[in-house]
C-alpha cells in the first residue's frame, strides 16, 4: 500500500541575499507501508526540506503530498493540513525534549493534547517507556541526561500515539559512534513492535545503508537515484552516487581493441570486461575494499606503501601512472616493494568527461 506519495513537489525559498533558491525540484516519490526509507545527500541537498514538507512545517511551492491515502498538501487546491493534524511521529536531531517537563510529562504530552483518559494514558506511556528502556525514570527531568537517553525520550514521545508514519530527522548524528550503532538497532526493533513506516533523513551513508529497505540519494534539490542499499552501493548511476556511498577510486583508462589500459601503461590490459559502448577514454570506478589483491593473476603491480590500520591493512599500489589505495584484511599480507596482482570485480564505467564530474567540480568551487 502507498503510505506517502509526493507528486511534482517543488519548494522555492526567497532570501534577501540569494534571491529565489529552489530547494526541492519537482520531486516524485512513493513510499510503501512498513518500509524504512532514507533520504540521503550532502547538506543543502533538499532532504530536510522534503521531510519538513511531509511534516507540514513548510508549505509547498507546487505539487501535492498524500499521507495514508489522505491529501495533506495540495497546492492547486490551496489545501494545507497543519502539522498537529497530520498524526505523525517525529524525532529531531537536537532531541527537542522539553527541559521543563519530566520524562513522564514529556511522553504523555501527545496523549494529553488528544484528551486521552488518565488510565489509558498511564498504560500507553508505560508501554512506550518500557520499549525505550526508560521505565522507572518517569520523574526524572531530561536536563541532566545523556544524549542517548534524551533521544530515547524523544522516541518514546513519538511512538506513544502509535503513528503510522515516523519521521526521523538525523536522529543519531548528535550521538557518539558506539551509541549510534546500538540506537540504529533499537529503532529497527521499535519498528517491528509498533509497525510504523520510517522516513529517515541522514547525511551518513553507512547509517542509511544499515537501516533502510530503500533509499533515495538527493543532490541540489533533485533525486539522483532510488533503490535498495546494495543496488546503490554496487551499481551507482553516476560518479556522485559512487563517491557519496563510500570510498571510491576513479582511474582513467584508454580503451583499445575492447581492452582497457590504465593511463601511462599501454602494455598491460586490466583484467576487466569493457562495456560494449565504451568510448576510447573512460573512467573506471572501483572501491579500495573491492579490489582483489593476490599473488597469482591479474594486473601486475607493486606495493608502494603499507600501513597496518585497526581493522584492515592499507596498501598504496601502482596502476599505470596512478597510485591507488587498496584495503584488505590483515591476513592478506604483502611486503613493501613486493609484486602483486590486481583484479577489479564489479568495476563501474563512466564517461571520461561526464557531466557529473563537472557538477562536482562546480560544487566544490561553490563551497
Amino acid at each position: 500500500m502507498d503510505q506517502i506519495v509526493l507528486k511534482n513537489v517543488t519548494k522555492n525559498f526567497t532570501t534577501k541575499t540569494l534571491g529565489t533558491v529552489t530547494a526541492v525540484d519537482n520531486l516524485n516519490l512513493t513510499i510503501q507501508k512498513g518500509e524504512c526509507f532514507s533520504f540521503l545527500g550532502p547538506s543543502g541537498c533538499g532532504k530536510t526540506t522534503t521531510l519538513r514538507m511531509i511534516a507540514g512545517f513548510e508549505d509547498l511551492t507546487e505539487g501535492e503530498i498524500h499521507l495514508c491515502g489522505r491529501p495533506v498538501s495540495v497546492k492547486s487546491k490551496n489545501l494545507y493540513v497543519p502539522p498537529e493534524e497530520r498524526g505523525l511521529g517525529m524525532v529531531f536531531q537536537s532531541f527537542a525534549v522539553w527541559p521543563h517537563l519530566n520524562i513522564f510529562e514529556n511522553v504523555a504530552f501527545p496523549l494529553k493534547v488528544r484528551k486521552v483518559d488518565k488510565a489509558q494514558m498511564h498504560e500507553r506511556v508505560a508501554k512506550a517507556l518500557k520499549h525505550t528502556s526508560l521505565d522507572g525514570m518517569e520523574k526524572v527531568f531530561p536536563g541532566s541526561l545523556s544524549g542517548g537517553q534524551q533521544q530515547r525520550i524523544a522516541l518514546a514521545r513519538a511512538i506513544v500515539t502509535n503513528p503510522e508514519v515516523m519521521l526521523l530527522d538525523e536522529p543519531l548524528s548528535n550521538l557518539d559512534p558506539k551509541l549510534r550503532e546500538s540506537m540504529r538497532f533499537e529503532i529497527k526493533e521499535l519498528q517491528k513492535e509498533f509497525n510504523f513506516t520510517i522516513v529517515f533523513v541522514t547525511h551518513d551513508q553507512s547509517e542509511a545503508m544499515a537501516l533502510s529497505d530503500r533509499m533515495m540519494v538527493m543532490d541540489m534539490g533533485k533525486v539522483i537515484q532510488v533503490g535498495t542499499p546494495t543496488e546503490l552501493y554496487n551499481q551507482p548511476i553516476n560518479q556522485f552516487v559512487h563517491k557519496f556511498l563510500g570510498l571510491s577510486t576513479f582511474t582513467y583508462v584508454n580503451i583499445r581493441d575492447g581492452k582497457a589500459y590504465p593511463e601511462g601503461d599501454p602494455e598491460n590490459a586490466l583484467p576487466v570486461e569493457v562495456p560494449a559502448n565504451a568510448e576510447s577514454r573512460m573512467i573506471m570506478a572501483t572501491r579500495p575494499n573491492q579490489i582483489d589483491m593476490n599473488r597469482t593473476s591479474g594486473y601486475p603491480s607493486e606495493v608502494v606503501k603499507r600501513s597496518f590500520l585497526t581493522n584492515h591493512a592499507e596498501y598504496l599500489v601502482k596502476v599505470g601512472d596512478a597510485v591507488i589505495k587498496i584495503q584488505t584484511p590483515h591476513r592478506n599480507e604483502f611486503a613493501q616493494g613486493e609484486t602483486c596482482y590486481l583484479r577489479f570485480p564489479g568495476a563501474m564505467w563512466y564517461a571520461a568527461d561526464s557531466e557529473e564530474l563537472e557538477a562536482e567540480r562546480n560544487r566544490r568551487q561553490l563551497v
Binding site: L245, N289, D292, F308, N311, H312, G346
Partner: protein
C-alpha cells in the same frame, strides 16, 4: 633535528597524578605518535615538554640540552625551548594576517628580514597556502587555518615539531591529504615530529613508531604499526587499537573450553600461551571467517550491510561474537542471512590471562 628524552617524569594536578614515572625516548627525525584515550595525560605530557607546566619529578632533554630538571633546578621557559607546536585548536592569532602569523616566531627570534621573507614564503608553499598571505584567519576554513599553524610551527623550529590532535576536526578527505602532507614535510626537512592523538587510525597511518598510553598515565607499548597490530602486548592495547571480541575460556589439555558452555574450541593453543587456566581469547571481527567446512558452528543473529563491509552478530553457544566481512568476500562468496547456521574459523586468536579482580 633533535631527539627528545623524558626520564622518570611524574606530573600531578593538585592531588591527582596524571603522569606516573614515565620514560620515553623519541629518536632524531622520527614521527612518534602518542596515543591514548582522552584524559590519559598525553596533552599534559606535551605541555610539560613545551614548558607550560612543571612536572613533579624527572628530567626532560631536547637533543643534548637538559630543558627541565627538578633535581638540578632547571626550567627553560617555553620561548627558549625551540619547539614548533601545532595546537589542537590551531591557535592561529585571529588579529594577524596569515603572513604575520607565520613571520611572528622569526621576528621574536630576531631573524634578519630577508631571511624571514624567504623562510615564510617557503613554509607557506610547503603547506600549499601560497596566495593566502594577506588573508585573515577568519576568512579561512578549518583545514586552511591548520595549515597556517603548521607553517608557523615549521618556521619556529626545524628541530622538533609537536602536533596536538591536529586533524581530528577535519573531514575524511582533508585528513588524508594532511597525513600525506605531514609525511612529505618530514621527509624533506627531517624534523622530529611528535604527534598526539586519540585517533588510532591516523596514528597508524602517519607514524614511524607509536607509544600507547594507559589511563593512569604510563606507557603500555611502543612499536611500529605492524608490531602493534600484530602483537599487542596485553589486553588493554589489544582492545584499544580496534574492535575486539573477547571469549572467556578455561584451558584444558592443550585446548580452550568456553566458559558457561561445553564447547571446546577446535584448534590447538599457540605455543606461548601462559599457564594460567582462566584466559580471555581475543579475536578481531575481521579475523573471523565464515567457512562451511569448519566444525565450530554459530547462528547469525543480525546482518547489517554497511557498504564497505557486512557486520554480523553471531551467537556461539550463548556468546555473542561480532564478525566483519569485507566487501570483496561478500561480493564473491556466499550470501548470509539472519538465522543462518555458519561455520567459523578464528585467525590469530590472542590469549590473555584473565585479570583477577578483587
Amino acid at each position: 633535528m633533535a631527539s627528545v628524552r623524558f626520564e622518570r617524569v611524574s606530573i600531578s594536578y593538585g592531588d591527582k597524578q596524571v603522569i606516573r614515572d614515565l620514560s620515553l625516548t623519541v629518536e632524531d627525525s622520527e614521527i612518534m605518535g602518542i596515543i591514548g584515550p582522552s584524559g590519559c595525560g598525553k596533552t599534559t605530557l606535551i605541555r610539560a615538554l613545551c614548558g607550560f607546566i612543571k612536572p613533579h619529578t624527572g628530567d626532560i632533554y631536547i637533543g643534548d640540552q637538559l630543558v627541565f630538571s627538578v633535581d638540578k633546578r632547571i626550567n627553560i621557559p617555553p620561548e627558549r625551548r625551540g619547539i614548533g607546536v601545532v595546537f589542537q585548536d590551531y591557535a592561529v592569532w585571529p588579529h594577524m594576517s596569515v603572513w604575520d602569523n607565520v613571520c611572528y616566531p622569526m621576528k621574536k627570534r630576531k631573524i634578519e628580514k630577508n631571511e624571514i621573507q624567504r623562510r615564510a614564503t617557503h613554509a607557506l608553499a610547503q603547506v600549499r597556502m601560497t596566495g593566502y598571505e594577506k588573508h585573515m584567519p577568519s576568512q579561512l576554513s578549518g583545514g586552511q587555518q591548520q595549515r597556517v599553524a603548521i607553517a608557523r610551527a615549521l618556521v619556529s623550529s626545524s628541530e622538533l615539531i609537536i602536533l596536538d590532535e591536529p586533524i581530528t576536526n577535519l573531514d575524511a578527505k582533508l585528513r588524508e591529504e594532511m597525513i600525506v602532507e605531514i609525511q612529505m614535510i618530514q621527509r624533506d626537512i627531517g624534523t622530529t615530529i611528535i604527534y598526539i592523538t586519540h585517533d588510532q587510525e591516523a596514528a597508524l597511518q602517519l607514524c614511524d613508531r607509536i607509544a600507547i598510553m594507559r589511563m593512569n598515565g604510563d606507557i603500555a607499548q611502543i612499536g611500529t604499526d605492524e608490531q602493534i597490530i600484530k602483537s599487542p602486548i596485553d589486553r588493554y592495547v589489544y582492545s584499544f587499537i580496534g574492535v575486539s571480541n573477547f571469549l572467556p575460556a578455561t584451558l584444558q589439555g592443550g585446548k580452550a573450553k568456553l566458559e558457561n558452555s561445553d564447547l571446546v574450541l577446535p584448534f590447538d593453543l599457540p605455543a606461548d600461551v601462559s599457564s594460567q587456566a582462566t584466559q580471555d581469547i581475543g579475536v578481531r571481527p575481521m579475523n573471523i571467517v565464515f567457512d562451511e567446512a569448519s566444525p565450530l558452528r554459530g547462528t547469525i543473529k543480525r546482518a547489517v550491510f554497511l557498504g564497505n563491509q557486512y557486520d554480523y552478530f553471531v551467537s556461539l553457544d550463548g556468546h555473542e561474537l561480532r564478525v566483519e566481512r569485507n566487501a570483496l568476500d561478500a561480493m564473491q562468496g556466499k550470501q548470509y542471512q539472519e538465522g543462518d547456521d555458519v561455520g567459523l574459523v578464528f585467525i590469530n586468536p590472542a590469549f590473555y590471562p584473565r585479570e583477577v579482580t578483587a
